[in-house]
């Protein structure tokens, strides 16, 4: 149980740091990178939660979250490129 607690603490610190960049980020691209990292850290939190509860039911949610984060990053990148060129 202590390993799970330490993992949760580390991931909370990582979430806070990513939020710092999300708030501070000088450009939109910085915020998109921070959002992508937030999605990945959420996947990590889900995995640690599965380990803590011994129930792997949320692993599908982790996979879907990773996919949605990827699609969001791609969409933001295309939007930024179109907006910058026009």
């Amino acid at each position: 149980m202590t390993v799970v607690g330490v993992c949760f603490a580390i991931l909370c610190a990582a979430l806070l740091l990513a939020f710092v960049r999300l708030v501070k980020g000088p450009t939109v691209a910085d915020r998109v990178v921070a959002l992508d990292l937030l999605a990945v850290i959420s996947v990590g939190v889900i995995i640690i939660h599965d380990v803590a509860t011994e129930l792997p039911v949320f692993l599908d949610a982790a996979i879907v979250l990773a996919l949605v984060g990827f699609a969001g990053t791609i969409a933001f990148a295309r939007y930024l490129e179109r907006r910058g060129r026009s």
Binding site: C7, A29, A77, L80, G84
Partner: protein, 135 residues
Amino acid sequence: MTGLASSILLLTGCTFLLLAALGIVRMPDLYIRMSSSSKAVTLGAGCLAVGLALHMNDAGVTTRSILLILLFLLKAPVAAHMLGRSAYLTGLPLWEATTIDEVTARAENPPEPRGEPPATAADPTEIDPPTPPQS
């Protein structure tokens, strides 16, 4: 034994995710931030998935963990490449201490085309420099 291995893998994965978040806060430039975050994120999420598969010791969980690892291996470079490309093309400035900018260097000074003998330098006025590609 398996419990020890999975604990070490879970702690390693969490630490790498923390390092990715630290790099995103501390690095000076969008490109360096993306470089640090995409690599550390791939390793961290992969370690977490392997740790979960070792901890659960179940066929379905192992299959989904492998799927998650493959997904991260595929998506992290593509996302970082597309974001960096769009940021560079829209003119986001590099860090002031950056010394190598290969895209601009190639556009200003294009390399010799391959497959042809090198042009003799006897009459350099005959050689037309190839025009850089229009974006």
